[in-house]
Symmetry: C2
Subunit: 500 residues, 2 copies
Amino acid sequence: MLRWLTSISALILSAFATVPAALAENPVCPGRPILADLRTPAQTSIPAQTSIPEENPAPVPAVPTESQLKWQEAELGAIFHYDIHVFDGRRYVQADNRISPIRDCNIFRPDSLDTDRWILAAKEAGCRFALLTATHETGFGLWQSDVNPFCLKALNWKDGKADIVGDFIESCRKYGLEPGLYIGIRWNSRLGIYNFEPSGEGPAKERRKAWYRDYCERMVRELCTRYGPLFMVWFDGGADDPLTGGPDVEPIFRKYQPDCLFYHNSQRADLRWGGSESGTVGDPCWSAFPTPYSHTRSNESESAHLELLAHGEPDGRYFVPAMADVPLRSGNGRHEWFWEPGDEDNILPLDRLMEIYRGSVGRNATLILGLTPDDRGLLPEPDRKRLAEFGHCIDSLYSHPDAAAAGVGSVHTLKLDKTRKTGCCIISEDTAGGERIRRYRIEARTPQGWKTVCEGRSVGHKRIERFPAVRASRLRLVIAESVGTPSVKQFSAFYDKDYE
Amino acid sequence: MLRWLTSISALILSAFATVPAALAENPVCPGRPILADLRTPAQTSIPAQTSIPEENPAPVPAVPTESQLKWQEAELGAIFHYDIHVFDGRRYVQADNRISPIRDCNIFRPDSLDTDRWILAAKEAGCRFALLTATHETGFGLWQSDVNPFCLKALNWKDGKADIVGDFIESCRKYGLEPGLYIGIRWNSRLGIYNFEPSGEGPAKERRKAWYRDYCERMVRELCTRYGPLFMVWFDGGADDPLTGGPDVEPIFRKYQPDCLFYHNSQRADLRWGGSESGTVGDPCWSAFPTPYSHTRSNESESAHLELLAHGEPDGRYFVPAMADVPLRSGNGRHEWFWEPGDEDNILPLDRLMEIYRGSVGRNATLILGLTPDDRGLLPEPDRKRLAEFGHCIDSLYSHPDAAAAGVGSVHTLKLDKTRKTGCCIISEDTAGGERIRRYRIEARTPQGWKTVCEGRSVGHKRIERFPAVRASRLRLVIAESVGTPSVKQFSAFYDKDYE
């Protein structure tokens, strides 16, 4: 990984000399560029039809699409998990759920359902997008599907006419959050689909597999065509590999949702899972990745691959930014994506949430918090309250810097209005031209002179650096290594009262 | 089989001497008697709690329930097959259909559906009951199921609110036919159930099997509780064996439909399939049968078992009368239970239908004709027309005997008004006391003296005997062998113009 890291100036020179056209169409995902033009930062207009030199690929950073930029700028989102077993009064055990068909879908009766209130609660936390499990592992669909009869049509509730996906998306738009959907097709306990595969053998299995492939594709078409532009579609556990008989959902998705983030199948991932459900990613955490997909069936459980997911690879040719996910109800050893009675005490405390925030958003990832509407159809008040506290805390800590700078180049200096106690800096790189910063340090001018307070490697969309508070009159970001000319959107200093 | 047949008088004596209480509750199906009281014919009041002598079972005939008597008296019924593939425009291949899930249920749009007209067409043929495939091998349900979402709820047609089962039963009642349902649970291409078994292995299969068992039981509960008293429920291919993990539908059925005919599972069959789908049964054809069930998984394809189904066993301890079934569209080598385009030429011609009638109703079986509503939701006019011709032919041939007699005893004589040409007799036994006639002959008094015109063994509910027409002034039914005192409800003579 380090073989391409040289000093900034050498790199800029070599880039100009050897990579006259270091841009290309992504061969798997047309329209998705993979390499940056190093000459000017943040140049996002991409010439088409430019070929990549296949030998000795140049050490130029991968660049994001507009959608990926928006994803990084969103920083925080929510995913709402909702399915029939929320109503069964029992503990949810995923491994059991996957192989145990639901007995009676009519237990699903969220008589106080209010997706407006779900979205308002997410908005209070600062979420800029929200996802809903349109269908999870039971196979039940939260919409009026013409493909999957095991959906809201099957219920007596609301005379079989409810459309929670529609309501959810409408609530998102009403309150200014970007809507997205989660589509689970890897497991379907009702249809007997386990890890993408129908059980059995022979012609019955072959026909069933072909049928299920078409079924998935048609569900995806429905969800991609009925509700207007979406922000993100999340196939949990992926959407399998069309080259080995899995559903070929990506072309359908691309046709109907060209500006939406696709996550993911064995060919394409517009973002990547950060390797854990802890809500944090590795440090460093690069958005660049060696492949345009994040998983295959074979590598997904390898520990080396989990490391790669957590860290990315600075010279990876594809921009596949990291996502950190964690359910809000993760306290006390619990880890619950779905609502269950009696779990209120396990809502993450605020300090844990702030650690998660710094370990994800503060490390160049987008954080998705798992939220759990209950059997009334409401997000419980203790969850809502914690989300509001979380949003308030982020806002109060990080919205009002003591000083801020921006610009192109390798050294950026902040002049404070006076000698102040400072314990935190935020760095944001303009990632439109790729992540160019490869090593940096922050120095503080204390009464005792310049002193390095922290150093690091990846920056990307946002880097929150906290350090033992110092009294300083100036702070200086020194970019010690980069690929191409770095462009800093924000370098700002905060006191961060946690260090009092 | 013949070891119990002796002369009438000896048998009556031995029966009185050795079987003081030859009646018992059927241990599998409480309330269903299995043996007759031989002393008086047609004695149907059954003392409860009487035990059967287990050793040397007496040669007394099995007796029917009230429902079975009604079944035999009905003589002719219709079964309407209707499922999604009627709408696919393709040839139906059952073996493929069983393993090929339906792609798009919304092809089901019978915009001219009129169950009244279905039932009126069946009534024109003389059907006294009608059955509908509530669910067949696709798993699609023709009602508003809360258990099976793959039902009319799933359709855009009629805004997902249609209930064809309900409409059908209402039409039956409106026009005086007894309603019944066919419930297919042996195959379910959507759920991946093949010959009762979910595919796969291990815990996933075990859970799925348990779930499917419950699913079937709950479907049966729905169908048995929503539509009032039914005449017959037909589990095609049976409802499996509850003792080996199959659904235990019989207790549910018995609770909610105590007067309905149950056909069938591995424990109970109130009637039996006659061993072919030719529309005819064997000769002789006894209603008595050695077991209270007609099939098990292991015996169903044995040729000896098919023989037993076709003939019954005169000394069988259980009354399990025969059913003959055939689709109306069975001509020219076709055999279609479902409508397909272009099959009108394959409607059975009237003479074939009359052969079938004589080989089923005329041999002590109840005939069920398969009728095929089309993709408009109507029974096609050529089918309706043939049914009307069939009904008219039966009526004109057999409704107006030249002479008729009835009574208890072994010799019954008909005196004709004059010397007439006669080519047909109908014999009906009062089967309430069991089938007692074991061998008979018919003699005609011709100008040349008494002459045997035919002889046979089983009579039961109805025996149509045709013979080369003779000129006779009297006809005599001589019951050469019987078990207990035979009781003849009807012995009648016809010219039967076919013999002109």
